[in-house]
């Protein structure tokens, strides 16, 4: 018999459920006085470097109905392409930019909205540059394990055309599901959980 690997098993996921707001955005859900403010609500302040943008969209289920009880987290590099994380070894990110945001969608309209900056480019495993992108994590009632996807910027055509992740997608017809379209300072990004235009989700 060989030695044991002695590796533990990851704790299994369970759905965030309909009341995820209580734990993650209690002020949003009407529970005030416990935390000063909900974590992740503000990503930028007046000193944050880079181009200010808004990311806005909805998440649709397989019937085309927008989810109204979901929670989305985003994680992105700063305007210079650095992550505000202890594991970032290439430099020091903008201290006025958290890189991480968390928003519940509006309980009536299903719209989510992040005020952030446009991220710079970060390297792929082999050193090639990736196109600017935002990582997303979506949880909700009925979602058993949080869904990972990425948002790219449709107006970054040259960078997208050489992005190491995008170019290796077999079904290029699905690539537009990862593209946010610009109108003014707002990038619009809808997510489809099922159907013909199902968003590409990643196993990361």
């Amino acid at each position: 018999m060989a030695q044991q690997l002695n590796q533990l098993r990851e704790t299994a996921s369970q759905t965030a459920g309909p009341y995820v707001h209580i734990g993650c955005v209690p002020n949003f859900s009407g529970i005030s006085g416990v935390y000063d403010e909900d974590l992740g609500i503000a990503m930028v302040n007046e000193k944050t470097a880079g181009e200010r943008i808004v990311i806005e969209g909805r998440v649709f289920d397989g019937t085309g109905t927008p989810l109204k009880d979901s929670l989305i987290e985003i994680w992105q590099a700063d305007s210079q392409g650095l992550y505000n994380s202890p594991s970032e070894m290439r430099g020091t990110a903008d201290p006025n930019f958290t890189g991480w945001g968390r928003q519940a969608m509006d309980m009536d309209t299903g719209v989510f909205r992040f005020e952030t900056v446009k991220p710079g480019r970060v390297p792929f495993l082999d050193g090639r540059l990736q196109a600017p992108h935002v990582s997303l994590w979506i949880v909700a009632r009925g979602i058993n394990l949080g869904l990972n996807t990425r948002m790219y910027f449709a107006d970054e055509e040259a960078a997208n055309a050489e992005d190491p992740v995008l170019v290796r997608i077999e079904h290029q017809v699905r690539v537009p599901t990862l593209m946010a379209t610009r109108k003014g300072d707002t990038y619009h990004f809808d997510i489809y959980l099922q159907g013909e235009s199902e968003t590409i989700f990643f196993d990361i």
């Binding site: 533990l8 965030a16 009341y19 209580i22 416990v34 290439r90 050193g127 990736q130 394990l145 590409i200």
Partner: protein, 246 residues
């Protein structure tokens, strides 16, 4: 974070067989919310390896005490007083320091403080139902609360959730992000619950059940339950090819 050197390795591939599948028709809401196409495999880049980390300075004194953090001065939440404690570990068995844990739950009668909640059990004016803490250098955490009650929910005509506490866990990388639920040892509703049963690997479900921990029970005050949480581990980067200039 202590004095440990930040880790920069890629995460072990996720063992998806121990997680629930996306499409679990006995849990009805999953039917139209489950992606149907294959996930696209992505080897971790710096976007997945890094993640937000939070400092202990964000915490208020009562953040991990649900008995008091919403209660009126001099009062406390109703119900069975319990302590939940344990460690956040990674798959290599190492304690994860500086991990933010957020938790939420129903009150002792099984009622959530939420606009969309309509169960007839009453709200407790002294119980909000949310809390948070950050692990210490060894990955250890604890919280104090009241044991949440079971409650009926609209799925089947007579489905009941077992008593449970929701946990949201941040490690050090975005790919470690996890939300799960903790159940209580001996609860007969666990094997009946369509949400618990989305996990088909029995050992993985057992890992969500916190045992009574009499050694850490506070005499004449609160029982203790132990709940360890395992996040994805990282590869060693010793022999990995490094990018030029990195």
């Amino acid at each position: 974070m202590g004095n440990a050197k930040p880790e920069t390795g890629a995460f072990f591939p996720r063992n998806r067989s121990l997680h629930p599948k996306a499409f679990t028709p006995d849990y009805k809401t999953s039917v139209v919310r489950s992606p149907q196409k294959a996930l696209l495999s992505l080897n971790d880049t710096i976007s997945e390896i890094t993640g937000p980390v939070f400092g202990h300075e964000i915490l208020g004194e009562k953040d991990n005490d649900l008995i008091l953090n919403f209660a009126r001065p001099g009062e406390s939440a109703l119900g069975e007083r319990i302590v939940v404690h344990g460690r956040v570990l990674d798959e290599r068995g190492r304690g994860v320091s500086g991990a933010l844990l957020e938790f939420w739950q129903a009150n002792a009668g099984g009622r959530y403080r939420h606009a969309k909640e309509g169960y007839i059990a009453p709200l407790d004016p002294n119980f909000g139902g949310c809390g948070r803490t950050i692990t210490d250098d060894d990955g250890y955490y604890s919280l104090r609360t009241v044991k949440p009650g079971p409650y009926p929910w609209p799925n089947g005509v007579n489905d009941w959730r077992p008593s449970h506490i929701h946990f949201s866990v941040f490690g050090h990388g975005f790919a470690q992000r996890l939300i799960t639920q903790m159940y209580f040892e001996g609860d007969p509703l666990i094997p009946l619950c369509p949400i618990a049963r989305t996990i088909t690997d029995q050992a993985a479900l057992d890992q969500l059940i916190a045992p009574l921990d009499m050694a850490n029970t506070i005499p004449m005050d609160a029982r203790a339950f132990k709940f360890d949480i395992v996040l994805r581990g990282r590869r060693s980067t010793l022999f990995e090819n490094r990018m030029e200039g990195n």
